[in-house]
Amino acid sequence: MKKIRITIRIAVWVVLLFLCNLWIPGGKVFAEEQIVYRLKWLINASTAGDVFASSQGFFSREKLNVEVKAGGPERDAIRELELGYAQFGVASADQVIRALSKGARVKVLAQLFQVNPLQWIYRADAFTLTRPMDLAGKTIGITYGGNDETIMRALLASAGMDETQVVLAGVRYDYTPFFQNKVPIWPVYRNTQGILLSDKLKAGEERVSFFNPAEHGVRFVANSVVTSKKMMDQAPETVRRFTKALLAGWEAAMMPANETNVIRALTVHDRDTSKPVMRSQLAATRLMIQSNPDIPIGTIDTEAWRQTEQIMARQGLIPGPINVVDHLNPDSGL
C-alpha cells in the first residue's frame, strides 16, 4: 500500500512538471533560436537600429529570439564570439583588423556607419579648420590607444605634416580640458557626444564646428556587424535571417516617420538623454548611417576597409597585411 502511494506521488509530480513545462511562456521561446547580440557601446542613438529591430519584432518575425546586450569599454564583441558568449556583435574596423591579425576567425556582415562619427569638435569663433594644415600649432585631443589616435596620425601623415607641428594631448571621457579651452580640439562621436557638447556651448553663446577626417581623405571604417566564421559555416541561414532582420530594423529606425517610436525604444535603456537631444542625435545619425540614399543601409565599403587596413599597417598596429577584404561578407543579409 505504501509503495503504491509513493508511486502515485511520483507520477503526480512527473505530470505536474510536464504541465509546468507546457505552461512556461517560453513555449514561444523554444520555437525561436536564441541569439545574443553584443553591441560595442552603451545604448544610445548610435544603436537606434539595433534596439528598434529588437523592440519592434523584426527579429521575432525571422524566428529569432535576440538579446541585445549593451557594450562598453570593458566589452569586446569579437572575444565574446570566440568564447561563445555571443553569436553576433558590433565591432569597429580596427578591432576587426587587430583580431584577424591575431588569428581570430571573424566575418563582417554589414557596415552600419557609412561615415565615421568620430570627428573633432572646436569653437568656431576661435579658429576655422578647413584643411589639415590648419591644425598646425594647435593642441589636439586624442585617446592614446584609441582609433582617434590612429585616425589623427593618419590624417597628419597624409597631409605631409610632422607630428611635432601639433600638440597631441591625451584625453578621456571627462570634457573639462575642452570646456576650459586647454584642449580646444576634442575628439567626439559627432552624432552623440557632439550634439551634447554643442548644446552646452550654445547655451553659453558659443558656436561650434566639427573637423571630419573623411572630408580630407581619411576613410577609417567605424561600427560593423560581425559574427564568427564557425557561425557562418554552421548556421548560414541564421546569419542570413539575423542580418536581414537587423538591417530592416535599421532602415525602419532611420525613417523620420518612426522617430517617436525609436526614441521611445531608446528611452527604455537610455533614461539620461532628453528627448529633444535624442531627436538631434537621431538626425545626425541618419546622415552617417545612410549618407547616400542610393546606397542601402549596411553596405560594406570595401575601399574604406582596405584603406583602414593600410593605415593600421603603416602605423605598425598590425604586423603585416591580412587582406581584410577576404573577411567581408557583403551579401550575407542584403
Partner: protein, 249 residues
Amino acid sequence: MLHRRIYQFFIVYFLGIGLLFGIKLVLGLSDYVIPGPSNLWNTATAEWYRYLGDVLNTFTVAVVGQVLSIIIALTVGVVGRKATWFGSFIKVAAYNVQAYPIVAIAPILFILLGDGYLTRLFIAAMICYFPLLLSVIGIMGEPVADIEHFYRITGRLRWQLEVKIRAFENLYKLTTVISGSATLAMAGTIVAEFIAANAGIGYSIRIALYQSDLSKILVALFMIGITLSFYQGVLEMLGTSLKKSWAGK
C-alpha cells in the same frame, strides 16, 4: 625573506599564465582572446623596458602616496580616538570619503588638481589610507589599561604619551598593516593612472585595453608583481631589523 617573496610571486604568476595557456589550448582560442607563448614572449622582449620605466614611475607615486596615507591615517586615528564630538565627526568624515567610488570623485579631482601627478597621488593615498585608518583607530581607541592607569593616577598622562604607549604596545600590528598597505598603495596608483593620468603603468594598461592586447597586459602584470614583491620584501626586512634593534635595546 626577499628571495622568498620573489620566488613565491614567480610561482603564482606562472601558475596563472599556465592556466590561461591551458584554457587557450583546450578551447582552441586565437591569440586575440588569449595570447600564445610566442606572442607573449615577443611582447615581453619588445615592451619590458618601456613597462619597467612605467612601473617605476607608478612605484614612486605609490611610495609617496603610502607615506601620505600613513600620515593621514595616523592623524585621523589620533584625533578620532577620543569619544568626543570632534572625534566622531572626523571618523564619520573619513568613513564617508572612503564610501564614495573613486570614479565618481575623479572628475572633481580633475577640476581641482588637473590630471597629473597630484591626482594620482591623491587617489593612491585615498585607496590606501582606509585599512590603515581602521587599524590605527582600533589601536588608538583601545586603552592599554595596565600602563595608562599609573600615568593617569599620577596625572602625567598627556595625549602624546597615550599615543606613544598604544603605538608601542601594538607595534607588530602597525608594522604588518603598513607593510600590507604597500599593495593597496600600488593598486591605488594604478587605478588613479587608469582613470586620471597620462603616465605610469595604469595608463599603459588602459592603452593596451583599448588595443585589445592581452599580451601587453600580462607583461604589465608581471612587472607590477615583481616590483611589488621586491618592495614588500624590503619592507618586511626593514620591519624585522627594526624589531631586532628594539629588542636589543
